[in-house]
Symmetry: C2
Subunit: 198 residues, 2 copies
C-alpha cells in the first residue's frame, strides 16, 4: 500500500468494483491521478448523473431514465411477463429479438445464505402486475442454478392461485456446444426434453 | 449496448480504465447503479478529492499529498538519486528497504512511436537536481525494455558532463527463476555479469 492516505482511499473505492483485485485497484488509482483535472471531473460527474437519472421503471422494475421504460411504453408488448434476475438479463433477451411481451426484473435471487429473502426482491410488484394486468403467461427465466431455481419455485407457488400459465426456459445443450464436454445434469435434461426431429 | 444514453456514458467512463474491456465496463456500471446514493457520492467525492490533494513532489516528482514528499523530507536520505519511470516503481523499490537515497520519477519513458519525447518527462527537473544537489550517484532504474533502455541511454548522455557516477540495475535471472525458462537475452546478460561465488 502506498503511504498516501487519500491514495489508499481511492484504491479502496476501485477495489469495491466487481472483478477488481488489490493490484488492479492500485493500477486504476494511479491511472486516474495521471489524468487531467477535467477528465477526472467528467468521471465523477458521470457517476453522480447516472445515479440521479437512472431509476427503476415503476412497472417492470428494469433500469430506465424515463418515467416508464421504452418496453413498457410500447403498447404492442403485452400478454406475457418474462421474469429475470437483473437488467443485464433483459438486454440478453432483447438481443434475441424473439420475445414480444414485457419483463419483470427481480433485482436479485432468493438466497438464504446471503440473507436475501423475497421481501428484498421486486416480488410484491410482480404479484401486483399479475393481479391487475391482463397476463396470459409468466415465464420464469431465472438462471438454472440453485438460487435461480429456488426463486422460480417460490414464484411458481405464489402464482398458483392466479389463472395464468407459468413456464420456464428450456434446459439443454447450448447451440455450438459439444456432447463430450456437457455436464451430466445438462445432458440428462437435454435427453428428457428431447424434441421430435423436424 | 443498453439503450439508456446516460448508462452508456457511465460504461464509457469505466471502459477508459486500464484493463477494463466492454463487458467489464458494463458490469461495473450496473454495479454502481445497484449501490446506494451515498456510496456513489463517496466514490465521486473520492475521485475529486484525490485529484485535488495528490500532486507531484516539487523535488522528486513522486506523488504526494504533502508539500514535499516524506522521502525528500527525510534528511538521512541523500547522496544518490534512483531514476524510475512511475510512482509504482518507487513503491516496489521501497518494499526492498535497501535503498537509502532519493528518487526521481520521470512519469513516462521516451517513446517516439507514441510521440513522447524528453520534454514531456521530468528530465529538466532531474538535470536541475543533479546540478544543484550534492549527488554522488544516479541509478538509472528504468525497465530493461526498448523504451526503458532508450530513456536510460538518453539520460546517460545528458549526465556525462556532470561529475556523477551513473549506474544501472543488474540484469540476470530472477530469484526463484529457472534457467530452463529464462530467455536467451537474460541468460546472456546473467552469464556476462556473473559474480564470484561467496
Amino acid at each position: 500500500m502506498p503511504n498516501i492516505a487519500q491514495l489508499n482511499k481511492l484504491i479502496e473505492q476501485f477495489g469495491k468494483l466487481p472483478g477488481v483485485g488489490a493490484k488492479t485497484a492500485q493500477k486504476m488509482a494511479y491511472f486516474i491521478l495521471a489524468q487531467g483535472d477535467s477528465a477526472v471531473k467528467e468521471f465523477a460527474d458521470t457517476l453522480l448523473a447516472s445515479k440521479n437519472l437512472i431509476h427503476c421503471c415503476p412497472r417492470c422494475q428494469n433500469l430506465t431514465d424515463q418515467e416508464l421504460c421504452p418496453i413498457c411504453t410500447d403498447e404492442k408488448r403485452a400478454g406475457s411477463i418474462c421474469v429475470v434476475e437483473k437488467p443485464e438479463d433483459v438486454e440478453a433477451m432483447e438481443r434475441t429479438r424473439t420475445f414480444h411481451g414485457t419483463y419483470h426484473v427481480l433485482h436479485g435471487l432468493i438466497s438464504p445464505v446471503n440473507g436475501i429473502g423475497a421481501d428484498q426482491l421486486k416480488v410484491r410488484e410482480l404479484m401486483h402486475r399479475v393481479a391487475e394486468e391482463p397476463v396470459e403467461e409468466v415465464i420464469l427465466a431465472t438462471s438454472p442454478n440453485v438460487e435461480g431455481q429456488a426463486t422460480a419455485l417460490y414464484l411458481f407457488k405464489l402464482l398458483k392461485p392466479f389463472e395464468v400459465k407459468v413456464t420456464g426456459l428450456a434446459l439443454g445443450i447450448p447451440v455450438g456446444g459439444t456432447l463430450e464436454y456437457a455436464d451430466s445434469l445438462t445432458l440428462t435434461r437435454a435427453m428428457e426434453n428431447r424434441r421430435s426431429f423436424e
